[in-house]
């Protein structure tokens, strides 16, 4: 089910989906900002990192991805 995260005093709505075999997160900022889709990609050597899909919003992907990871860990 969707969940909410707070970043810089702003409440974001996040929903999880499986697309093309990947786990993706759709982040809804409300009406004023375009929604963001992020996923975990793997760098050479196996290091994982958050990325936006499509490219172009890497900083947001990194910041919000960390919060999503914390949220998921806290739920376990």
């Amino acid at each position: 089910m969707p969940f909410e995260l707070e970043i810089n005093g702003r409440l974001l709505k996040v929903s999880e989906h499986e697309l093309a075999g990947k786990r993706v997160f759709h982040v809804n900022f409300g009406a004023s900002v375009k929604p963001l889709v992020i996923t975990v990609a793997v760098a050479p050597g196996g290091k994982k990192f958050w990325t936006s899909i499509p490219q172009g919003r890497q900083r947001e992907a990194t910041d919000i991805g960390k919060l999503i990871a914390e949220h998921i860990r806290a739920k376990r």
Binding site: S15, V24, G30, A31, A41, V42, P44, T51
Partner: protein, 272 residues
């Protein structure tokens, strides 16, 4: 080696991310608060697997379009008939006494529509300069949800619409509506109808069961008791922005509770 979003990735990972981009472009994320039916939005519906032992969630367009039609014909069809909802009373015979357009689908193409809440407007007459009630009304939108449930199921009927312009097949659906309970008579006071909200058991039966016409009607008539519902008034921007923001309207008369507590419904399948 390739780069994606400034990060080094393998060629295989790069290809997978590019494929994902396409999937993201084609996918409508189903996380809006409110689907405005008159925009014919994509929604999540459950349809039975072929062996009827399980179901899958698929994306479908709200606004039933039967069979083969061009896009223009589909628009005209929806404008003429407003096929967002079907009345449980008219599954077999239409209001004019003819064969119902829902008949075949009710027998063989039933689905469930996933909902987290419904929005209906209460119409309150405007008051004139001399204090008299006018015919013109003010609409106050309410969100109605099911107590202690994050989501619930509505009975639906679907059709695979073949767009004859493009050859594209789109699942389209309509939601079952029934007679309003005491709460919904006050909230949706212009129509006195409400969506039919099913128990989990009835939802399973609607989707999987080999049902007689009478049983299909009986399930589709289900009226949820008012005591199981919660409601709040919301601001009008839900229509355009698809978001729910609670809003108080001090001038709005309270919903009458006394009827709710004594409610007896003809098709209450929810029990005590």
């Amino acid at each position: 080696m390739c780069y994606y979003n400034g990060q080094k990735v393998t060629r295989a990972e790069f290809i997978q991310l590019k494929q994902l981009e396409k999937a993201v472009r084609d996918y409508d994320f189903l996380d809006v608060d409110v689907h405005n039916g008159f925009n014919y939005p994509p929604c999540a519906i459950a349809i039975a697997t072929d062996d009827r032992r399980d179901f899958e969630l698929v994306q479908a367009q709200w606004g039933y379009v039967p069979g083969k039609m061009s896009a223009d014909e589909a628009i005209a069809f929806r404008r003429k008939l407003t096929t967002l909802n079907f009345k449980a009373e008219n599954l077999w015979v239409s209001e004019s006494g003819k064969r119902s357009m829902w008949k075949d689908a009710a027998r063989s193409r039933r689905c469930l529509v996933l909902s987290t809440g419904i929005v209906e407007s209460r119409h309150v007459p405007k008051i004139g300069k001399k204090g008299q009630e006018l015919k013109e009304t003010i609409k106050y939108p309410y969100q109605v949800t099911l107590k202690d449930h994050e989501y619930f199921w509505l009975p639906g009927i679907y059709s695979d619409w073949l767009n004859t312009d493009t050859g594209e097949v789109t699942k389209t659906f309509a939601i079952g509506i029934t007679k309003a309970n005491e709460l919904m008579k006050q909230v949706h006071n212009s129509k006195l109808r409400m969506p039919c909200i099913l128990t989990d058991e009835l939802a399973w039966e609607w989707l999987m069961g080999d049902l007689s016409d009478d049983r299909i009607t009986e399930i589709a008539m289900t009226q949820i008791p008012s005591r199981l519902l919660e409601r709040c008034t919301i601001s009008p921007e839900y229509r355009l922005e698809g978001v729910i923001n609670k809003k108080e309207y001090p001038e709005l008369p309270e919903i009458k509770q006394e009827f709710i507590d004594q409610e007896v419904l003809e098709f209450d399948h929810w029990g005590k």
